[in-house]
Amino acid sequence: MSRAAVLALEDGSAWWGEAFGDASSAHGEVVFNTAMTGYQEIASDPSYNGQLVVLTYPLIGNYGTFDRASESRRPWVEALVVRELDATCREDTLDLDAYLRQHGVPGIAGVDTRALVRRLRAAGTLRGALLQVPPHLAHDPGVAQEAVAKARSSAPLASRPLVVEASGLTREVGSGVKVAMLDTGVKENQIRCLVRRGAKVRVFPATASPREVLSWSPDGVVVTNGPGDPAAIPRIAQSVRLLLDAALQRGAARPLPILGICLGHQLIGRAIGATTSRLPFGHHGANHPVRDLRTGEVVITSQNHEFQVDESSIPSGSGFVVSARNLNDGSVEGLAHEALPIRTYQYHPEGAPGPRDNEPVFDEFLADVRRAVAAR
């Protein structure tokens, strides 16, 4: 063991293990993800900005890391917490350890992750801090205490510009119908899914003004996933509201299809006057069943969110209905406008990691877009 590490939670518990990745410390919210594959996709999902992620599958790193599994330009997790870190056996791949080191992200291995998850399940998402020390200080109560103090003083997520950090520069990919994407922390596979289906995707930074977006004359708009609390980003929420207003004003005659994913779904929910709230310990995994309330069909979805749109708060005159619901806890998984092609999903139709069952969401969206184009 070259470096020891301790993960402390605000409840006072300390979890010792071996450090890997970068030799830095970290703090933030501690959440867990139950997907059995896709650690790199998870690590590089911008929605995890500000969070330390516990992976419940015990063996992590088995097949290394590689470009195609990166969901963004870098890993965003504050730290990875694993039971066992493995080295890769596959050619042309880079060890997870080296990947994280390259990007300055620390990790801790050797933790009884199941015990940790049971604690998070019972207490709800907790703040935590990861500290690294030389091996001879492993299990030092003083270090653990320091880490607990750090966890408790860790600033709440809302105080950090998580979305702006994760959002990228303006860029354009693919060719076809014009899809404007408000990048509140987009996962690359959303772009791939659209491009593969014949879209020209222009990615706008989260700070872009609605005027800027609309002046590109998009055929459709996507508001992507992203990190943090939707209530903590009023300016971006305002942009989303203006984009939504534009679509509502254009109405059925000249429709502007809008697709909201995850944070995008929550922002659109807030834009129509609904409230959002925190789930006890979020939804993070690749196995969440969701019922499509229109068809009755149940689909298995990939999810990663702490917040939800509160169903009871959806204004009755908003024109929006709940279109999907989580089978486990009944939370809102989708909204749809009664007359216009505006649909939102709390889950990740792009998977990565997780099932590809929900890619038809992109087909549906682009079909709406093409209808809108044809109607012009």
């Binding site: 139950t34 015990p58 195609r68 039971r83 050619e91 199941r114 593969r196 069909e297 486990n328 099932p355």
Partner: protein, 1102 residues
Amino acid sequence: MRTQVVLLIGSGPIVIGQAAEFDYAGTQACRALREEGVRTVLVNSNPATIMTDDGVADVTYLEPLTVDVLERIIARERPDGLLPTFGGQTGLNLAVQLAEAGVLERYAVRLLGTPLAAIHQAEDREAFKRLLVSIGEPVPESAGVRSVAEALAFADRVGYPLVVRPAYTLGGTGGGFATDRAELERAAARGIAASPIGQALVERSLVGWKEIEYEVMRDGGDTCITVCNMENVDPMGVHTGDSIVVAPSQTLTDKEYQMLRSAALRIIRALGIEGGCNVQFALHPDRSPSADPEAQVPYYVIEVNPRVSRSSALASKATGYPIARVAAKIAIGRRLAEIPNAVTKRTSAAFEPALDYVVVKIPRWPFDKFPGADRTLGTQMKATGEVMAIDRTFEAALQKALRSLEVKGQGLLWESPAWVDLTDPAAFVARHLSPAATDDRLWRLFAALRRGASVDDVHAATRVDRWFLRKMAGIVRFAEDELQGKTPTPDLLRRAKRLGFADSDVATLAGMLPADVRRLRAQWGIRPVYKMVDTCAAEFEAVTPYFYSTYEQENEAAPLPGEKAVIIGSGPIRIGQGIEFDCCCVQAASALRARGVAPIMVNSNPETVSTDFDASARLYFDPLDEESIASVLENETGGVPGAEAPCLVQFGGQTALNVAERIAPIGGAIAGTSADAIGLAEDRRRFHDLADALGIPQPPGGTAASLSEALAVAREVGYPVLVRPSYVLGGRGMEIVYGPDDLERYFHAALEAGTGRVLVDKYLRGKEVEVDAVSDGTDTLVAGIMEHIERAGVHSGDSYAVYPAQNLLPAERARIVELTARIAKALPVKGLLNIQFIVEQGNRGAAPPENPLRIWVLEVNPRSSRTVPFLTKVTGVPLVALAVRVSLGSTLAAEGYARADGIWPETGLVALKAPVFSMAKLLDVDTYLGPEMKSTGEVMGVDRSFAPALWKSLVAAGLAPAPSGEVLVTVADKDKEEVVPIIEGLHWLGYDLVATRGTAALIRSLGIGVREVGKLSEGNDEILRVIRSGKCAAVVNTPTLGKTVDRDGFLIRRAAVEGRVPCLTSLDTALAVVTALRASAVTYDVAPLVAYRAAAVRVAGE
């Protein structure tokens, strides 16, 4: 229309490729359907199943699984739905036959679960290929062939290597690989012959590709989920049933995982299955994960099982998701989202389990029984059972699975004597490793790595993925560098336990005793904790009582409150210790529950009912060795003195019995027959002394530590003698020896095998009789006396047994009951007892004065036996429940089962237990019956008299001769006299007789016509053509004396097995068959088991 009555088809006898997993699935299905208010009618020919226990289905038929029987049941019960998908390939084949015969239409029975078209599409390779091509799924190039010439033409087009599989068979029986023309000729001929429709598939071989399986569920609303995926450690080329398998996959990226998952869902949708399905893929092994986002790793779809399967049983146990239960509910129209998740109670069945542990399955092969068999693993499955282990590291899961195999002495460090001299790694790899795996491949891999072979070299030789090899290399390095010759420290020991090293291996490496290691662990507080298998990686609170051990921080299994008892399970299914013992364990759990005692099950077998999460109050899925049981006991008592968790060791077969004497030293207590009493019965020398003291007659004989001693004993008692090692397991190493030369050969072999002492007993050519009894130490109740059809010398597990005994005099019967009671009292027994007797009838010599009836005690087993489930079913005496109650302190008198005459009254019912063999799967194994057990399963035939009961058992066992045709008779000279009534009977029945010279002469001397054929040893293979002609109704063949090479007989018997011709190697069986045929038993009744029992009671009451 709502389904109200469902007919469920069981899978019949346990054979290789179709085993206990179907009892597990069928039992779950019955329970699930009854929960839904559906009346369930079950038919199965296998009495050693939980599903056929009273109370599981609404109506249970123990009848042969034939179209005729099923039609009669359908006519009687008028089910509106037929559910065949829980009966393995047997069930599906019957469904197809019933549909084709118009039965389903005639009685308006709907086929539930899997549509007929899907059964065809999954089984007929061409139809399968067309379907997959139509949905864009890749299939390997292939051609259906009906002749060798067609196969060769295909090979000319696509080249080699190729693989041949027959259509419509169990576990791929009869296929094979071909790397050149000659091999293809052989494999194609074999495959075509093995297929009931004369069709085989020749296809591109994908040997060395990754083999990945998905378990998929779909409901009538088209909602689909995958329960889990599994990765074979042995890549393509080894049947998945013979592969070491891990769950979930370990080397697949999320892209690959999802690509195959999506394909599996497309396939179940295309097949229109409503229920469960298993899809197997081959995935390219060395494609690097490219930067190209659209790049796809090549894969092929290999096989689809449109039903629950061995893999789905494994997946259920690996994830906690009850596939069979859910599939049954879907079959009657329920949707996944409506079915509650029985583990979390709060979520539904519409989700995909998340595992937070690693599961390793290792097959259990029967080669310890068949040392001469071909041990190469290929497309034909050869394993009889399997073990599973769960842990948080791959290394520990693998090592625990190894411990669970219970192959004596074959732990992690084992090496074949044949390898020891070869220390050079490159030479070892070249000599002992190849893509063609053998059953000992895992040990070969360890041996190569131990010699310093690199992961890359071993990978190149075997195609086993580097990830698995590197883990194994890590185990080897840890053993060599850290443990070998070192004094353990707390840190070292903790790390060793995390990697799964057994105390005994640590002890061996460190030069200590296992007890020392345990003491150090206790001193340093290094104990396993138990974690829950909860389907959801702890995301939701779960209520399941399903745990595994691991060396980590948090223990989730606090001692179970209240009164409780630990049932030691029976481990993997093997020849000699089959599903019967698992049945007894499950019955014991129910009996404990009924008494308000919480049953705690320990077992390592993923196939069976005992490891179902609701079979007991708590399940520890762990090995059945001393270390593991000690840890479980410590966990349950919490180290608190006075806290009690007594162990029940009499139900789990020899596995449980073997740990009996270790229970007390590890601080446990046995409920029931004490360890000392068990030892007294098991240790033949001790038992001999006891028997002498009690005046219980045993066959004359003695023990011998040297050849000269053995020869002396044999001379004294006279040949033939029965020889065996002093501790016998299922007839292991037992042989009848006819002279000094044979004895010498046997003795040398026994010494080589390290047997030590050998028992030499007079071989008595009498009638073998067996009893199962229950005793409280004072009173004893014999549930029934069974008589073996075959004379002593054929292993009891391979004998036909009839209840009640048909040929005993009242005095003999009384004597047997009396001897049983005397032995039970003397040991003493508190619980079950099985005794085998020899009754030497018709011996004209003077009887010894102390044994006037010439009844000898052959063997005493103070535990549940193979026949307990059978006898329980036919007598209605709840043997296991009584044994449990007695073990808990009750008496037979208190339970109302004490009888003055000591035996449960026999009635008008007659039942036959018939052995079933898996010889078609095991090439090079001789099929003749002897003292060494060979059968893998059993069936039962029950009726109101002997002949129809026997006939039913023959039909159920697949041994019923065709009504007309030729019968080949070729018997050893010693049997010529005895075969006469059989020949006369066959002639009377109208069969045409075919025989070799000696037997033909005998037949002619009886004035009966015969066609004489030449002997194989004379270079004439006409005899084999007779067997394969399709007109051969049966073969009667007896082996020549001793174990000297009997090449002709061997080839004849093998040809019969492979040509599916009933082969009778015991004249007793042959005579019984003739008798049954002559009694026109072919026309028999079909009725539920309870009807036979009720009728029988009426008879008894008259």
